[in-house]
Amino acid sequence: MTDISAVDNRPQGGSLSAINLVSEAGVADYLALMKPRVMSLVVFTALVGLVLAPTHIHPVIGFTALLCIAVGAGSAGALNMWFDADIDAVMARTAGRPIPSGRITPREALAFGITLATGSVVVLGLLVDWFAALLLAFTIFFYIVIYTMWLKRTTPQNIVIGGAAGAFPPMIGWAAASGSISIEPVLLFLIVFFWTPPHFWALSLNRTGDYARARVPMLPVVAGAAETRRQILLYALVLVPIGAAPWLLGYADALYGMTALLAGGVMVLLSWQLWVQGSGQQAARHAGRLFGFSILYLFILFAVLLAEGVWAGLAGRAMA
């Protein structure tokens, strides 16, 4: 019997050595495939939806729901990396990802993503709620098929429409607790939906060359930086009343209302500074600052909503 050393698995001709037979991926590589930073945002917004729902949910069931939502989000990340491996390879921001860097093969990523997607939806349905599971399945489908496979490479409105995928988690959390949805989770959906364009366009302004190289029609590539800055400002202005809507419609307290208006005001100010600045190093700094604050914006709004929801729950139990 002939022994072949598996030191070098790159195609070199010959029989078995012509294909990569041995996986060299570590556990950390598979975790990286799931986009853990995106997962954490998804879990946090889903948690807020879960806590704000009017129906009390057992902590174990709630934990199960959040775990399934997290794994579902991770599966969507893995499948996105599988499909976008070609453009990830030519972009500086993403060239180090597991597939373009050769640590995980596309087939492994596809199998991993499909397994996690199926498992998360089925477990969520069996142990928590089938409507929430349906929403999770639709979210994964929307992100992979509608956004990744279709919109991302065909239209500058890609992240506007595709951003809906990131806006569903609070609705899924709400549905996991209550079995249905109502106006409140839809407001949470709208906050994330209108937050997504200024957030991603602020990032893409400093990565225009990358996206152009990858032939991704992000707005700065197609319409130019000036138009992108204008659109960012418009979305920031629209985001102020939408962010405050839970308070304006009576679903949140004044603390949230004031927080939303203040944070929204800062978003508008940073967007206006970016719009006024024009091009150059200063503009790049403003774009980076806006991108950083946009993450804080969403976290602050949802954190205050969560705090109000927990406080209301504790107060309700104290009165009972």
Binding site: M1, T2, D3, S5, A6, V22, S23, G26, V123
Partner: protein, 51 residues
């Protein structure tokens, strides 16, 4: 014609990575089993019933 079957010999690093992946899969499956067990305790006999 020499038709000897070829064998792949893993390097130490590849063995280590494979072992780590196997352990991670085993832990994930074990956690899933425990999760199902705990949820069954929490929900009682009607574990698949939903309100």
């Amino acid at each position: 014609m020499d038709d000897k079957p070829e064998r792949i010999v893993l390097t130490k690093e590849q063995q280590r990575k494979r072992r780590a992946r196997s352990i991670a899969i085993a832990l994930a499956l074990g956690a899933l089993v425990i999760l199902f067990y705990i949820v069954t305790l929490v929900k009682g006999p009607g574990v698949l019933n939903q309100p």
